[in-house]
């Protein structure tokens, strides 16, 4: 959520990108991204990715090839793809138009609409240079049908993009407070710096929660983080809790009725750096409220 300029995208506006699909969460994605773009005074982009789940190939068992077979086959395959893509494109336009209506109604002045043929994660990587926040639903189109709790693409996206990702539940509630899961590591301090630079959470109570033993070292780290954040002008609470990371964070969140949870994506061990930290994965699975993952 920084507004720092990146060398290659200096002139491009840094969008809040809302990833729209046909799932129920799409409405909430619209609302949250509208909220974020207004708080950040950043332009909003509605993105629909025609994720080309490879269409099932048609089986023709005749096994022969004859005069102009290649040309004919090519033509056949092209027109088949064209038909399917045209439909998907149309569907995408409808989704985007709906989304646009919704964000305009919630006070956003203008929203760019984009469609891309690609996988979601690579589309977002492509857009990185012109965006500062990605918003997507915790439950995607296919996960709702498959009865899974976390959208199928979430982890891939978090692993590949280098911008903060805001993951939202199916229903919108205007955020009034936020908490940062803090572990005193260098990456955690980077998260703190990012937070202090963004206007999104300005003016709302901010909780800094450290999971670990209550010792002087941790207290010192919390103090340092608090000082960094104090420029924001928000009311800051700090707490040190011991116990299982995921459960403790959720418990704290519930106790203090906090709307947005912010955390880094990395686990601690070296191997896990390649993957999303296991705590993060667990948090994704059990999240009931919006979650910001910082990269």
């Amino acid at each position: 959520m920084t507004t720092e300029n990146h060398d290659d995208g200096a002139q491009m506006p840094h969008h809040v990108v809302a990833c729209i699909d046909g799932s129920e969460a799409a409405l909430a994605v619209c609302d949250y991204s509208a909220w974020a773009s207004q708080r950040m005074a950043a332009p909003l982009m509605l993105l629909h990715v025609l994720d080309e789940e490879k269409y099932p190939a048609r089986t023709d068992m005749t096994g022969n090839i004859g005069l102009g077979s290649r040309e004919q086959l090519q033509e056949e395959l092209v027109s088949l793809d064209q038909e399917r893509s045209k439909l998907a494109l149309k569907h995408g336009h409808v989704l985007l138009d709906e989304a646009e209506k919704r964000v305009l109604a919630s006070g956003v002045e203008k929203a760019a609409k984009r469609q891309r043929h690609d996988e979601l994660a690579s589309s977002l990587v492509e857009l990185e240079s012109e965006s500062q926040l990605f918003v997507m639903g915790l439950h995607g189109e296919s996960s709702a049908a498959a009865g899974r709790h976390v959208g199928s693409q979430l982890e891939t996206v978090i692993r590949s993009v280098h911008r903060p990702v805001l993951m939202v539940p199916d229903d919108y509630v205007e955020p009034r407070s936020a908490m940062l899961a803090f572990d005193g590591s260098a990456t955690a301090f980077r998260s703190v710096e990012l937070l202090s630079a963004t206007p999104v959470f300005q003016g709302m109570p901010l909780h800094l929660v450290l999971i670990g033993a209550d010792n002087p070292e941790h207290q010192e780290q919390l103090k340092r983080a608090e000082r960094l954040l104090s420029t924001q002008g928000s009311e800051i609470h700090t707490a040190i809790r011991d116990g299982d990371v995921e459960q403790t964070l959720h418990a704290y969140q519930q106790e203090n009725d906090i709307d947005i949870l912010i955390m880094g994506a990395y686990g601690h061990s070296r191997i896990r750096r390649f993957l999303v930290g296991s705590t993060t994965t667990k948090m994704l699975e059990t999240a009931r409220k919006p979650l910001v993952i910082l990269r």
Partner: protein, 495 residues
């Protein structure tokens, strides 16, 4: 990682397995037919096809493409086998694999960009003609039974799919082979069968190191063949990859494919098989049958071996006429018939490139020579065309007795002569100005031509001034640093 494995292996299981069966049926005739051409037992080709298909499924760069023992490669081995025997062929196959892996690491796959569309078309057509011509020995000096059976076979292949329901679920080449085998056995017709052509596989392939002396002499024997096999194998594989790319609207990793071909050939050589490469006809059949992922290639290889081992008593009974019919089908399907129609519409130079490629291949039986001829010719035509983009205009100014020549366009080896001819050295003037600020000098020949012109003018007593040489010659350097400066191309071409 996991999702890419899912994508390239298991995203289309049903289609891939069915296609694997159909493709295996089309692989068997080619493996047998070209083993015979190369002068080795059918089992050499069949082991090769099995091994190459299975290995390339894992290490290739183009999912859904079929590689196995091919005609293009077999034609290059004929003399080696005749003069030195099978063991040297296996050694040459290993060396081919090594060379292809090296080519992959040197990223030679990207050299394919120099192979123009018409050369590719010529290559494909030449290949189809070679496959067809390879069938002719089976069709000469034979009784009328063979002709009748071949014709009947082709009839079954192309007409059987028209039968409702059944025609769509049973591969017609299979029906062709089954029916003709049945007829030949029932009437006990005395014609050549697969069993007459040599040994068929009776066991799973076993690992064996080629029985050749490991010395320089061996290397010198096999090296020329291996180089030819390397080039042809990679060319056909790259071109097939392009065709599969177009059909499936996906991309392939060419350098990985080069390395994969190499690994597959090494595997083939160690299991007693000959060198192979990607196959255009069979790859088209695979896509048509619904094969898309690596699984289709793998299953084609495995089905091939299973069929050969399980059905071996039946396999020896297959009349050669049935295989000839299937190979004629592959040849017809490989040929680009659209290119005949296009002859009328395409420019003459394009047509010449295509036809020369075909003629050279058919004459030499070596696809590499054809492609080399085609690429050279295409480059020459291109140089000639670009060379025409040059114009020299001149103006005479009375007051200073100055003749100003303005050069516009591309000056390089092909246009340098025209460049010199544009100057009027006989005209006697005090001053000559050559304005190059809108010209591009592409090579040293252009600079030499300019030198020559300047010297000539000086000999006629004129004072020569050259304007804009620095800008014009900026294009001579071998690498333009345009990739990091988007406006560099604009600047280069605009002055």
């Amino acid at each position: 990682m996991l999702s890419s494995i899912r994508n390239t292996w298991f995203s289309n299981v049903r289609g891939d397995l069915l296609a694997g069966i159909v493709v295996a049926l089309a692989l068997i005739p080619e493996a047998i037919a070209f083993s015979i051409i190369a002068g080795v037992d059918p089992k050499v080709g069949l082991y090769a096809s099995f091994c190459i298909a299975v290995v390339i499924a894992f290490v290739g760069g183009r999912p859904g493409m079929i590689s196995a023992a091919t005609g293009a490669m077999a034609l290059l081995m004929v003399t080696l086998v005749r003069e030195h025997g099978l063991e040297y062929l296996l050694a040459a196959t290993l060396l081919t694999g090594v060379l292809q892996i090296v080519a992959g690491y040197l990223k030679l796959g990207s050299l394919m960009r120099f192979v123009s569309r018409s050369v590719v078309t010529g290559f494909v057509n030449a290949l189809a003609i070679l496959i067809f011509m390879a069938q002719l020995p089976e069709l000469t000096n034979v009784t009328w039974h063979v002709y009748a059976m071949t014709a009947a076979g082709l009839g079954i292949i192309y007409l059987f799919p028209l039968i409702p329901v059944v025609g769509r679920i049973l591969p017609s080449p299979l029906i062709c082979i089954a029916v003709l085998t049945g007829v030949a056995m029932f009437y006990n017709i005395d014609i050549r069968t697969v069993g007459d052509m040599g040994q068929l596989p009776d066991t799973l392939p076993i690992f064996l190191w080629p029985d050749v002396p490991l010395n320089l002499e061996t290397l010198m024997i096999i090296l020329p063949y291996s180089v030819g096999l390397t080039v042809v194998g990679l060319l056909e594989s790259m071109m097939t990859a392009t065709i599969v790319d177009d059909l499936t609207d996906t991309t392939s990793d060419r350098n990985r494919e080069c390395r994969g071909q190499g690994i597959a050939n090494i595997g083939s050589g160690l299991l007693g098989g000959m060198a192979g490469c990607a196959m255009i006809g069979q790859s088209i059949i695979n896509i048509k049958s619904g094969g898309r992922t690596r699984l289709s290639t793998l299953s084609a290889g495995i089905f091939l071996l299973v069929m050969v081992l399980v059905l071996d008593q039946w396999l020896v009974q297959i009349p050669m006429a049935a295989l000839v019919a299937v190979m004629i089908m592959v040849s017809i399907g490989t040929f680009s018939w659209g290119s005949i129609k296009n002859l009328k519409e395409h420019p003459l130079s394009t047509n010449i490139v295509m036809v020369v490629t075909v003629v050279v291949v058919v004459a030499t039986h070596n696809l590499a020579f054809g492609v080399l001829a085609g690429v050279l010719l295409a480059a020459l035509f291109f140089a000639n065309k670009i060379g025409q983009f040059m114009l020299v205009t001149s103006e005479y100014e009375d007051a200073t007795d100055t003749r100003t020549y303005t050069v516009v366009g591309q000056v390089f080896f092909s246009s340098s002569e025209k460049f010199i001819e544009a100057f009027d050295f006989k005209e006697a003037t005090d001053n000559v100005v050559i304005d190059l600020s809108r010209a591009h000098f592409w090579d040293i020949t252009a600079v030499a031509a300019l030198d020559k012109a300047v010297v000539k003018f000086r000999r006629e007593g004129a004072d020569v001034e050259v304007i804009g040489l620095n800008e014009a010659s900026a294009t001579i350097v071998d690498r333009f640093g345009v990739h990091d400066k988007p406006d560099a191309v604009e600047r280069l071409m605009a002055h």
